[in-house]
């Protein structure tokens, strides 16, 4: 069991808070849930806004008479700067997009050039293969002709022998 310190008013304060908080909160919550409270709050806000409006108008009038800029004037100026910044931001994005397109097109042209080189080397290789095949075919044809001629010679010699 905790021992209450007789010299500690803050502990008593805390105890009171802990014991009454839920009760007070419930009570406040019930009161604030009522339409009357919303109505009162609305009225209070209206009065406050009326007061604010009056202060603002009189300040603006005074500053205009004193030939000094008001908060609204300064904010209008800032607004121009913000608009200008927005335009610069848009331009920046357009340039970035344009640059990325350019980089893309640069990449595409690089790719096309590489393809061209590849094609050329392929073409060259194909030519070489065709040349080799042609030579091979010619050599084959020549050897076939030689064999045929040799066969013909043999046949002729055999016929000549038989005739003799």
């Amino acid at each position: 069991m905790s021992k209450q310190n007789p010299f500690d008013p803050f502990s008593m304060w805390k105890d009171v808070y802990d014991k009454t908080e839920s009760h007070w909160s419930k009570m406040f919550n019930e009161s604030m849930s009522k339409e009357d409270f919303s109505e009162w709050m609305g009225q209070f806000l209206n009065v406050y806004l009326q007061y604010q409006n009056m202060i603002q108008q009189s300040t603006e009038k005074y500053l205009a008479q004193a030939n000094m800029p008001s908060r609204t004037d300064l904010s209008n100026l800032a607004s121009l700067l913000v608009n200008l910044e927005a335009k610069v931001d848009n331009l920046e994005e357009m340039i970035e997009e344009d640059l990325s397109h350019q980089i893309n097109s640069l990449n595409v042209s690089r790719e096309v050039n590489r393809l061209k080189t590849d094609m050329k080397s392929l073409d060259k290789k194909l030519d070489q293969i065709l040349e080799a095949l042609k030579k091979q075919a010619e050599a084959k044809e020549a050897s076939v002709k030689e064999v045929a001629a040799a066969k013909e010679n043999e046949q002729r010699k055999e016929t000549e022998k038989k005739d003799a």
Binding site: D8, F10, K14, W24, E35, S38, G42, N46, R71
Partner: protein, 362 residues
């Protein structure tokens, strides 16, 4: 206090009972935290800015370890607070955790809008800022697909963005405590009722809605806990150094809101809270109808059990609408903010997000 006075005061303190000395020390520490101590440093994970637009910045976090996962993660935060809740302090940062697990993490910080941004609409953020940030992330990372994480209102905006850009290569989406169904938004539904809440007058008068008003509205959802509770807890645990550090970080974030651009606020309240157009499929962004069924990416939808800003039923409502085949809904035992800050976040949320993403980033 001059030296002799301090000395005699210390002597007097030493003569008092131990309990009184302790009480005094706690009071002194709490007073120092509230008045003189410096604000804690936040957002300390190393990062670089890779793109800016108006006040927005796109950060890329620098990993201490090599990147293991090829799909980058872009985080989108709400328009009403600073996003450093995702990178609060070393050891207490979702971003640091994910970076250390080898993810390539990016964050879109909306910056602090001023009066000149009063005409900015959600359309502008969803159609001009997020798509461009996505393109920058894809270009910087060299990846072909992307993961998105939307926290709070940032998740709602991410869902609209993903629905309107089905052609973009979005592999994974994580929603963290993001509301989608506004039919019953708790007390906000009552307070923002068209009968009482003069939205147009508010936007036209204020131009940009000050952060104090938004913070006040959020705190009013639980006034005792939000206005009074933090100070009771601070004094009670003022001797606990790590609690005090966490308390200071949280208070810094809570009190460091940003203004809400007027037109975006008008749209957010009217079309979401008052008419619930998103889930009904009646929302138009720059003339294009938002159809959430266009979302086909893998989805992890995280809600917080004790959330009173994005109540779990508001978060879960997107699940049957999207077309994703791989979709998971989870509730964390946390509140709206503690879902990504504190012990439960470190033990539950971070590993859940990390594991889910890791399996889907190969």
């Amino acid at each position: 206090m001059s030296a002799p006075v301090t000395k005699s005061w210390e002597d007097f303190l030493d003569s008092m009972p131990q309990e009184m000395q302790r009480t005094y020390r706690r009071f002194k520490k709490a007073s120092e935290v509230l008045t003189t101590e410096a604000e804690p440093e936040v957002g300390m994970t190393p990062k670089e800015v890779i793109w800016t637009k108006n006040k927005s910045k796109l950060y890329r976090y620098q990993p201490a370890l090599p990147k293991k996962h090829r799909i980058p993660l872009l985080m989108v935060y709400a328009l009403i607070n600073k996003p450093y809740i995702l990178d609060l302090s070393p050891g207490n940062s979702l971003i640091e955790y994910l970076v250390n697990r080898g993810f390539d993490v990016y964050l879109l910080d909306w910056g602090t809008p001023a009066l000149e941004d009063r005409s900015m609409k959600l359309d502008d953020y969803i159609m001009d800022y997020i798509p461009r940030a996505v393109r920058k992330v894809l270009k910087t990372s060299g990846a072909e697909e992307i993961s998105l994480l939307g926290y709070c209102m940032g998740g709602t905006m991410t869902s609209i963005f993903a629905a309107l850009h089905p052609q973009l290569p979005i592999r994974n989406i994580i929603f963290m405590t993001s509301p989608f169904d506004f039919a019953d938004a708790g007390l906000f539904t009552n307070w923002l009722d068209e009968k009482y809440f003069n939205l147009d007058k508010m936007v036209d008068t204020m131009g940009v809605v000050p952060p104090e008003m938004i913070d006040f509205g959020n705190k009013m959802l639980k006034p005792i806990v939000n206005f009074y509770g933090p100070y009771v807890n601070l004094v009670d645990r003022a001797e606990n150094e790590s609690f005090v550090n966490g308390w200071k970080l949280m208070q810094k974030w809570v009190n460091d809101g940003i203004p809400f651009p007027g037109e975006a606020f008008r749209q957010w309240i009217r079309e979401f809270y008052q008419h619930n157009k998103l889930l009904k499929g009646e929302l138009y962004i720059r003339g294009r109808q938002v159809d959430l069924s266009n979302i086909k990416a893998n989805v992890l939808n995280i809600a917080a059990e004790r959330d009173h800003i994005a109540i779990p039923h508001q978060v879960e409502a997107i699940m049957p609408v999207i077309s994703s085949k791989d979709k998971t809904y989870m509730e964390m035992p946390t509140g709206h903010v503690s879902v990504c800050f504190g012990r439960q976040a470190i033990n539950k949320t971070y590993p859940t997000v990390g594991d889910w993403l890791e399996q889907r980033s190969k």
